[in-house]
């Protein structure tokens, strides 16, 4: 079928060519052309497409999906002003939350001074801009008010209204609704859903990995339940779900049995809750699996079709089985079972599968490869709260478990699809994800590939933590890719890491790992090699920082160390920068015992040799002094060399003697 238009076009072309030569064929040609193609004059039936109902955000979503993430620009939430673009993690968090704090302040004023915001210009009135009605003594308490608070998820207000209402006046439906509401939120007031930033930075992982009991014992939910004269199955269900959600497994299990004893049939959500707590009410793996099977049979008996959340709850429960083999076999069996009734796994299911299969001390399992294959083919829609935990866990597995770069890149490509970007979870999961990704790259990729991805991610999408940044620098240093170090140094300064000793150590180590000046590198306008310029910049930066700290009498964890100075000296010698090398000797000489590590002997020797070559006896004496002070074996040979090859004036001679004298005496003493 696809070739049809081409064929027609060819026929048409052919006819047309003939027509130019013989006009009469042209006329007949029209009728030869088969019917139904675009050239026929016959009227085609016009099919009006069905009206597609559009939601209010559909158009915006279509537009938003055309905007790709720009790694060179800061996140949209930050002000587009170079002075206000944050680079470090701390600054990012502070700036974003500062903005949120402004929003909160405005909100607070709106509530405190509600009388100032009573104008109603807009028609229809915009409820979101109106100050929330304050509950006062005079506020008429009605059932409708309670319903409204339930609908807008204002927990504290709803509880207050419920307390004021005459309990006989509340209809059974509202009471049931309120019970579900209180059980769902466990009486905890919720963050206003407008405060997106705060939710983003709130670590969502805490307490979710392990079930902690947060359920309020003998709280309002149980009180509401007890106040019901006739206990309906729905009331039981709400209480069981609430208890299971907030970690009171034993209570949920008791009410479940009570419910069954009364002859009520649990609903789907309740069954899902029971699967979730199966691992807690049954300690032994075997009994746990038996309970799961039994409950599934009950569901089948009741004709309730399990959904994807059922699958996820079962897998979550299995993921707590400590025996690898049992967990593995059962989870595979459950997957096959659910496939047979057409329930497709969601990202949450895959998350639990990874937890089951890729354990820290377990055997290596590559189930993730199969999962990524499936996801590339089809991305399941969001169906479960655990769906958002998948990407971080998958990248963790790529890094620590499989160490597979190709897979990690495929996973990253999946996340980069605009529709999938929201599935990253929160800031905590995002940083786990990128940390694992970058760490994997530092171990498995060469410096070119690593730096390409690094430039893409840092600093706008992700700011590396100190350890990750060190890993990047070390990886670059191991390949002696010195030409990347200047860039890394400027990043370190940009990301507020330029004053950290460990970062400076690895950066200088990396700088000194090169083999000296490279004629191919482009020098700056003063004809200074960028590597050398970086070394000077680091020296100046640290000196300046220490000076400021000293002036302001501020304690600082940063100190010059022997290895830092050693690397600097090595580099300056490599590049023949005598002045800077001398400055290092002077530094070593003055700091001496304050250095937290030794200045390396090999570099000291080299420095010394260069001093001899230049006949720079003052510097040579300083070097000897340090060697003697540190008790290096080379000091005597150095002194000998100095006597033979250097022209020393009297004072220097004296000094040398005094230095050596101290060694001879110390050696005699010892």
């Amino acid at each position: 079928m696809m070739s049809c238009p081409n064929l027609n076009a060819l026929v048409w072309q052919h006819l047309f060519r003939n027509a130019r030569r013989r006009p009469f064929v042209w006329k007949s040609g029209r009728s030869i052309v088969p019917n139904g193609n675009s050239f026929s004059t016959e009227t085609k039936e016009i099919v009006i497409p069905n009206y597609i109902p559009r939601g209010p955000t559909d158009i915006l979503e279509a537009l938003a999906s055309t905007v790709k993430r720009d790694p060179t620009a800061p996140h949209f939430k930050f002000h587009d002003d170079p002075y206000l673009i944050p680079a470090s993690n701390h600054a990012k968090r502070t700036y974003a939350l500062a903005q949120e704090a402004g929003r909160k302040a405005a909100n607070w004023i709106k509530h405190e001074h509600a009388e100032l915001f009573q104008h109603r210009n807009a028609e229809p009135f915009i409820q979101a801009f109106a100050p929330a009605e304050k509950l006062t003594e005079t506020t008429p308490i009605t059932e409708d008010l309670l319903k409204k608070y339930i609908h807008t998820a204002q927990v504290a207000n709803a509880i207050h209204v419920y307390g004021k209402l005459d309990s006989a006046a509340i209809s059974p439906e509202t009471r049931q609704s309120f019970l579900e509401f209180v059980a769902f939120y466990n009486e905890d007031d919720q963050l206003n859903q407008d405060f997106v930033e705060e939710r983003w930075f709130k670590s969502g992982m805490k307490g979710k990995d392990q079930i902690r009991q947060t359920w309020k014992n003998n709280g309002l939910a149980e009180a509401v339940f007890n106040s019901m004269e006739r206990k309906t199955p729905e009331a039981y269900c709400a209480l069981i779900c609430g208890m299971a959600k907030h970690g009171k497994a034993v209570g949920a299990w008791e009410y479940y049995n009570q419910m069954l004893a009364e002859g009520f049939a649990p609903n789907l959500t309740t069954y899902n809750s029971i699967f979730k707590i199966a691992g807690i009410v049954r300690e032994d793996a075997e009994h746990q699996i038996r309970l799961i099977d039994e409950t599934l049979r009950n569901m089948v008996h009741a004709g309730i079709k399990p959904n994807v959340r059922t699958l996820n709850s079962i897998l979550e429960s299995i993921s707590r089985i400590p025996i690898y083999r049992v967990a593995r076999e059962k989870s595979l069996q459950v997957l096959s079972d659910f496939k047979s009734i057409g329930v497709k796994p969601s990202l949450g299911s895959y998350y639990f599968l990874l937890k089951i299969f890729c354990r820290e001390k377990g055997p290596i399992n590559n189930i993730l490869v199969g999962i990524v294959n499936r996801l590339e083919y089809e991305m399941p829609p969001l169906q479960d709260l655990h769906d958002v935990a998948f990407f971080a866990e998958a990248m963790r597995v790529c890094n620590y478990h499989l160490e597979d770069v190709q897979l990690a890149k495929r996973l990253h490509d999946l996340l980069c699809i605009p529709q999938n970007q929201a599935l990253i979870g929160d800031s905590y999961k995002e940083s786990i994800y990128y940390r694992c990704f970058l760490l994997l790259l530092t171990r498995a990729e060469g410096p070119e590939a690593l730096m390409e991805m690094y430039r893409h991610l840092v600093p706008n999408i992700y700011t590396p933590e100190q350890s990750v940044f060190e890993a990047v620098v070390k990886s670059v240093a191991e390949c002696s890719a010195v030409h990347y170090v200047p860039e890394l140094w400027s990043d370190a300064v940009y990301m507020d890491m330029g004053e950290r000793e460990s970062i400076l150590e690895v950066l200088l180590e990396a700088l000194a790992s090169g083999s000296g000046p490279d004629s191919n590198t482009v020098s700056d306008k003063d004809d200074v090699d960028p590597v050398l310029a970086t070394a000077r910049a680091i020296t100046a930066h640290v000196d300046n920082f220490l000076k400021v700290a000293e002036e302001k009498n501020r304690p600082t964890p940063l100190r010059w160390t022997g290895s830092m100075l050693g690397n600097l000296a090595k580099l300056f010698l490599q590049y023949g920068d005598v002045a800077s090398a001398n400055a290092i000797i002077i530094k070593v000489h003055t700091l001496k015992n304050q250095l937290s590590s030794f200045f390396p002997v090999a570099t000291l020797n080299k420095l010394y040799e260069s001093c001899i070559e230049r006949q720079d006896s003052a510097m040579a004496l300083m070097a000897i002094d340090y060697a003697v002070e540190m008790g290096y074996d080379e000091s005597s040979s150095m002194a000998k060399q100095a006597r033979e090859q250097l022209k020393l004036d009297e004072r220097q001679q004296e000094k040398l003697n005094s230095i050596l004298g101290s060694t001879s005496t110390t050696s005699e003493e010892s």
Binding site: L60, H151, V300, L382
Partner: protein, 361 residues
């Protein structure tokens, strides 16, 4: 002096012997290792678990292991020396292009022997040893050379013959090597293809279903009717919040504002939010005369006035239908109150108690 130098030279010979022997062996070992490692992967995991359990006995175990390792090493060395003395019957049967192997009778000559199979270094070492033991030096030298030649022959044979792993031997070696621990960092792997790729990709649907659902008849839509309407609503809300992040561009921000009800919704509609008015038809706003019918006289100044009022109201977009009706009713009540005056002035005909419609006809 004498015994030490002898010992060193003997050690030298031994070492050289072993080196010649092991060059080929190393390769074989490597191959064996690759071969068995994949097979043993799972077993090793189990082993390591057990080791964790037996932490208490670790110290004892360690000693025992060391002894074991030593014993194994000795055994291995012994077996090596044995194998070298073995005769190879297959040798003669194969008509491969091998160099002819002749049992060379060692000649009792003092001058250096040129031996193609054995390196001169080795021969020198042999010579040193034999010189030290002056008595039986010839015999010793001969036996040593014979041994070296054996080794050379065997390695040559191994080179030409296809490799056949000796199971017993490789197992011994593997178990020995497994007990060894190598300290120090591994060399960094910089190539993009790391590790041995795992052989089999775990198939998610590889397992046999338990058949729990095999005869199930589910009531349709049972999942939709869960009975916990509020719970489900709150879950959906939570789910949506889980993917609501700080907006990444202007459109996303507008989406959030739309969802919060702060901006006009797309597609743009002038009557958005006027839900109550949407219930009322256009005609109810425009055709208001029916409301006059129950009370208003058919002609006369009152009728004229009311018609003007109705026309005015029908063109007013700011009032709801209810307000318009109220407006009309206000006039009705007004005229009702002023009825006597109206009759006096003749604005409405003076007909006593009769219903208005009949009046107007």
């Amino acid at each position: 002096m004498f015994p030490t130098s002898m010992a060193t030279s003997i050690r030298n010979t031994k070492m050289l012997l072993r080196r010649a022997f092991s060059i080929k062996r190393n390769e074989i070992l490597a191959r064996n290792l690759c071969f068995t490692r994949t097979l043993n992967a799972n077993e090793d995991q189990d082993k390591s678990k057990k080791v964790v359990e037996e932490k208490k006995n670790k110290a004892e175990l360690k000693e025992a292991k060391q002894k074991e390792a030593k014993a194994k090493l000795n055994m291995l060395l012994e077996s090596m020396s044995k194998t070298t003395q073995k005769a190879y019957p297959s040798e003669s049967k194969l008509s491969l292009a091998t160099p002819k192997i002749r049992a060379k009778p060692a000649k009792p000559v003092k001058q250096p022997v040129f031996n193609t199979k054995i390196e001169p270094e080795m021969l020198q070492a042999v010579e040193d040893v034999s010189n030290m033991l002056s008595k039986e030096n010839e015999a010793l030298k001969n036996s040593l050379i014979a041994k070296l030649e054996d080794v050379a022959d065997e390695s040559e044979r191994a080179r030409l013959e296809p490799f056949k792993p000796n199971k017993q031997k490789t197992e011994d070696l593997n178990s020995l090597l497994n007990t060894l621990k190598v300290d120090g960092k591994k060399p960094k792997n910089k190539s993009p293809a790391p590790k041995l790729a795992p052989v089999k990709i775990e198939d998610m649907y590889g397992a046999q279903p338990s058949g729990i659902f095999s005869k199930a008849h589910f009531i349709e839509e049972s999942s939709a009717v869960s009975g916990l309407a509020t719970w489900d609503m709150l879950y959906e809300k939570e789910l949506e919040l889980a993917v609501t992040h700080p907006p990444a561009n202007g459109f996303q921000q507008m989406i959030q504002w739309t969802k919060q009800g702060k901006v006009w919704q797309f597609p743009i509609d002038n009557e958005q939010g006027l839900d109550e008015e949407a219930q009322i038809g256009f005609h109810e706003h425009v055709f208001l005369e029916p409301h006059l019918k129950p009370w208003c006289p058919r002609r006369g100044p009152v009728r004229h006035f009311m018609e003007l009022v109705v026309v005015g109201l029908s063109k007013n977009p700011y009032l709801t239908v209810e307000q318009k009706k109220e407006h009309i009713n206000w006039f009705r009540d007004f005229f009702e109150a002023k009825r006597s005056i109206l009759i006096d002035t003749g604005a409405i005909p003076d007909i006593t108690t009769k219903s208005s419609p009949s009046l107007s006809t």
